[in-house]
């Protein structure tokens, strides 16, 4: 074993890591500080003698209170949660079956189909929303939660399918062959053996899908018009920026509260999530 000099470890490891952490976490810190800063401090310029841009001397919950009382924020939170959950579940179920089929069943054009699905995922939403808006209107789904629950899967299903296909491929095929010899049908082997073994992959696909729908902006902006039906990202932006006035305190309070559920979801499943992405199954 080579004993490294301490300063080298500092120079090449700790310091770069500290810089990286600072760089990543600073926006969140800024968000939190701004959300708790009284208005008086918020609109004070840097040049003033008592300016404290990086911390606050009089933390307040005023903005949170304002957010809850003057806007429909709790309702937005609920909408976002419901829509994200439903679209995640729809996408996961479709993605599990489609991913399994693409990973395991050999049929003509299965690889081509896999590629097509991936390309679908690459089509930018900014293009896709135009035809989708047409469909939503024709089906009279506009301004209902279903408009989002059914359009989010258009990009979530390809994503889940692709991620799960990769994960299923890492599971030794002998596992399901063995299950089939043991007396399971192909479908039974998939449900009883492959899906339980793939839980890390399924969870990480779910977390990703949930985050993507939680943060989605364009569809939510276009398909929802009533204030009480909006999701957090759209609601915060459309209701707290009035003309050229930015309600920074409430904006940041909304952003902070909006990101907490996602953070909780991540921290709960972080271990699964890592093995899900690196895809390791050990017998």
């Amino acid at each position: 074993m080579v004993i490294e000099r301490k300063w080298k470890k500092w120079l090449y490891f700790y310091i770069p890591m500290a810089v990286f952490i600072l760089f990543t976490l600073f926006p969140f810190y800024w968000m939190a500080v701004t959300a708790m800063r009284p208005d008086g401090e918020l609109y004070r310029t840097f040049r003033q003698a008592n300016a404290t841009p990086f911390w606050t001397l009089a933390p307040t919950l005023e903005h949170f209170k304002g957010l809850m009382q003057t806007t429909a924020f709790p309702q937005w939170l609920w909408n976002t949660m419901l829509i994200a959950l439903v679209s995640t579940i729809i996408s996961l179920v479709c993605g599990m079956f489609a991913g399994y089929a693409l990973a395991r069943l050999k049929f003509r054009g299965s690889e081509f189909l896999g590629t097509i699905i991936f390309i679908t995922y690459l089509v930018p939403q900014t293009l896709l929303f135009i035809p989708l808006a047409d469909i939503i209107r024709d089906m009279h789904l506009g301004n209902t939660p279903w408009a989002l629950m059914l359009t989010y899967p258009t990009f979530l299903i390809p994503f889940c399918t692709w991620l799960l296909m990769g994960y299923f491929k890492t599971i030794p095929k002998e596992l399901e062959e063995c299950a089939r010899i043991d007396g399971a049908t192909r479908f039974g082997a998939m449900i009883r053996i492959i899906f339980p073994v793939a839980i890390p992959g399924i969870l990480s696909a779910g977390i990703f899908a949930f985050t993507l729908s939680w943060n989605e902006f364009i569809y939510a902006l276009i398909f929802m018009s009533s204030a009480e039906l909006k999701t957090v990202p759209v609601g915060v932006v459309s209701e707290l920026i009035r003309g050229d006035i930015f309600f920074w305190g409430q904006l940041m309070a909304g952003a902070l509260l909006g990101s907490i559920p996602v953070a909780i979801v991540y921290s709960f499943f972080v271990e699964y999530y890592v093995t899900g992405l690196t895809g390791s199954v050990k017998g």
Partner: protein, 364 residues
């Protein structure tokens, strides 16, 4: 209790690869049949077709009296042990072993009885509540075998079950498998690339190469009467020495000659070899068919050479040398003291000489 019959079995893959060619096998009830051959010889594909995991291109497979070609794996009443064990990682050892019985709707107490019985046989009673990842390689292998035996299937299929184990454990498990087979008396088909495993485990052995069956026979039969040059070289370690010779007729006797080597064709081979007189053939000699010559050895079956490399193994010594333009090896008593580059005279046991056709490789 069951036989397995394979008739004109063929497997063509979609990419045009012809993996199994016209295989015909008759596996008797309670027999331990080993398929052996180098990788890509079609042995695993054959086994997987018996299991129902691979489509059959043409031919028939019968288990007992029933053609099983179109039966799904679950309806063939077989059990298979895989090379990578294929234990269900999310289930405990007990659940792994019980799964096959649960799928077949056995009552709970019957499942429990069978699992504990199998665990007893394999000495894994203490591991029943563990997960596969908490087990060592040998223990996983035992669980995989246990999962197969609880079902009391008609046929056991083994796909290189020992190749993931280290050398010592492999020898130990080999003995255990043999003992297990004697106890359970179930027909078994065992695939391996290791000829030692094949020889020690098999009641009969099938040697395959490039999709063709080369020879089927009892282990010693393959060793002593190989059907062709491939089988002769594949079975036995170190493998048989081969040298290309020209057969000539002089003074009423047949001689096999190569550069610096002239040996008389032994009397029991004369008749068969005579047809090749004046042509080339391959002479085969097992390492133990050669020994250091002493006064009693006939000059017609002896030749001079120089030692190349000496490999002392303890229970025997392998002497590498060149003769007739080919590298060869002989196995001698460990008491013999020879050094590299020393000149020696070797004698051949005339009863243990093999001749092979130069082109087809078939035994003469």
């Amino acid at each position: 209790m069951s036989t397995v019959t394979i008739r004109n079995l063929n497997k063509n893959y979609e990419n045009g690869f012809h993996a199994v060619k016209d295989v015909n096998l008759e596996i008797r009830d309670k027999e331990f049949m080993v398929l052996v051959g180098p990788s890509g010889c079609g042995k695993t594909t054959t086994l997987r077709m018996v299991a129902g995991l691979e489509e059959i291109t043409s031919g028939e497979i019968l288990i007992g009296a029933d053609v099983v070609n179109d039966l799904p794996p679950m309806d063939r009443n077989i059990a298979m042990v895989f090379q990578n064990y294929a234990l269900y990682p999310h289930k405990s050892v007990y659940q792994n072993m019980a799964f096959g019985l649960q799928m077949r709707k056995y009552p709970k107490d019957e499942i429990d009885k069978r699992v504990r019985e199998a665990a007893d046989i394999l000495g894994i009673q203490a591991l029943l509540e563990r997960k596969p990842r908490q087990l060592s390689g040998g223990q996983r292998q035992r669980v995989a075998v246990g999962r197969a035996i609880v079902r009391h299937p008609e046929v056991f299929l083994f796909d290189e079950p020992l190749s993931n184990l280290d050398a010592q454990l492999r020898v130990q498990m080999r003995v255990e498998l043999k003992r297990l087979h004697e106890r359970l008396e179930t027909t078994a088909i065992y695939v391996t690339h290791d000829q030692v495993e094949a020889m020690t485990l098999g009641d009969r052995v099938v040697v395959m190469k490039d999709g063709w069956v080369q020879q089927v026979g009892e282990p010693l039969e393959l060793y002593e009467k190989p059907a062709n040059r491939f089988v002769a070289g594949f079975i036995g370690s170190p493998s048989m020495n081969f040298v290309d010779v020209t057969i000539s007729d002089s003074g009423g006797a047949l001689w096999a000659g190569a550069e610096g080597l002239r040996l008389k064709v032994p009397p029991q081979k004369v008749e068969a070899v005579r047809a090749h007189s004046g042509k080339r053939a391959t002479l085969g000699m097992r390492p133990e068919a050669l020994h250091l010559a002493n006064g009693s050895d006939h000059a017609d079956f002896s030749f001079d050479t120089a030692v190349d490399v000496v490999e002392p193994l303890g229970n025997e010594i392998l002497i590498n040398f060149r003769a007739g333009g080919a590298a060869m090896v002989t196995r001698v008593d460990p008491a013999v003291r020879v050094k590299a580059h020393q000149n020696i005279r070797l004698a051949l046991d005339p009863a243990r000489v093999h001749f092979f056709d130069e082109k087809s490789g078939a035994a003469i």
